[in-house]
């Protein structure tokens, strides 16, 4: 018994040390990675128009169609920021947690999520005016114990393809691959 108690401060010290490690920024966090180019291509389309504001307004409308609420915008720089809070419950996780509960283990499951989006427009092209539109998504997920279980970028190509299809239809312009 006494030995067990003696290990308690020791484990606290280890926990402290471990949490101190988590405060170091990873070396690659602000380094331009080679995979940033394919990601840029996935998240960007070119529209052959000189009307940047029209694209920005159409982008805001599409985000609203998808249930996002607008958090911030700056027309002069072509920036829109939006987010939505939704359920993150997945049947598979709940079943696993219930099975674990039968075995006596309390395993939390994902409960809610905040999905964030930013849409940025940028005029380009010298001879024929065109505008680049880049949209990026990320999410934070909380579990049933209100702990953050995931913080991640949402990089699946289908999200971006679908978004740009909608935007292209809304502005009656082709969305060219960048």
């Amino acid at each position: 018994m006494s030995r067990m108690w003696r290990t308690v401060p020791g484990s606290f010290a280890w926990l402290l040390l471990l949490s101190a490690c988590a405060t170091q920024i990873p070396k690659e966090a602000l380094r331009l990675a080679p995979e940033s180019l394919p990601l840029r291509q996935l998240q960007t389309r070119r529209f052959d128009t000189g009307d940047e504001k029209m694209l920005l307004a159409a982008g805001a409308a599409i985000l609203q169609d998808l249930g996002f609420t607008l958090d911030a915008s700056e027309t002069r720089l072509g920036v829109l920021v939006a987010s939505k809070d939704r359920s993150a419950v997945e049947a598979g996780q709940v079943i696993f947690s219930l099975l674990a509960a039968f075995a006596g283990a309390a395993v939390p499951w994902d409960q809610k999520q905040k999905i964030r989006a930013s849409l940025v427009t940028r005029p380009t092209g010298t001879e024929r005016p065109s505008v680049l539109v880049r949209v990026t998504f990320q999410r934070i997920v909380w579990n049933t114990q209100n702990q953050i279980s995931k913080m991640e970028p949402l990089d699946e190509p289908r999200f971006y393809q679908e978004f740009f299809e909608k935007l292209s239809k809304a502005v009656f312009l082709d969305a060219h691959e960048f």
Partner: protein, 152 residues
Amino acid sequence: MPMSFSRGKKRIRLATVAFACLLVSACGTSKEQLLATTASQVQLRSIQTRAFDTTDQEKTLRTIIATMQDLGFVMDHADYTLGSVSGTKLDRSGLQNYTLRMSVTVRPRGGTQLLVRANAQFNLVQVEDPEPYQQFFTALGRAMFLEAQQVD
């Protein structure tokens, strides 16, 4: 035997209390974090700032936003008048999820240059390591087709 057991117990209790005191004293009040910085402010400013030979604030801000997007940030806010933008990167390094928030401001320096200052926060701490800032300014310089100049 019972004597040594109780003495041992007392010693452990004392050690636990001492450890708890240490924890409490190490933290102080958490309100002090409001004005707290660890590195010297002058040093930090020089790590976080570069000068670029341009006066085009809009183009610079737009390039900063594009560079941040390349680095995986989702924008949080942008303000042309103030010359500031900020964004959040959510990612994973090994097994650890992390949040990296960064704001970048632009202001004129003399009549020919712009000063760009970036400051980042990794999870709950300020980023004071020069290397990540250096990497950011290298990426930004490349995108601007201009050299990021160190400012004294």
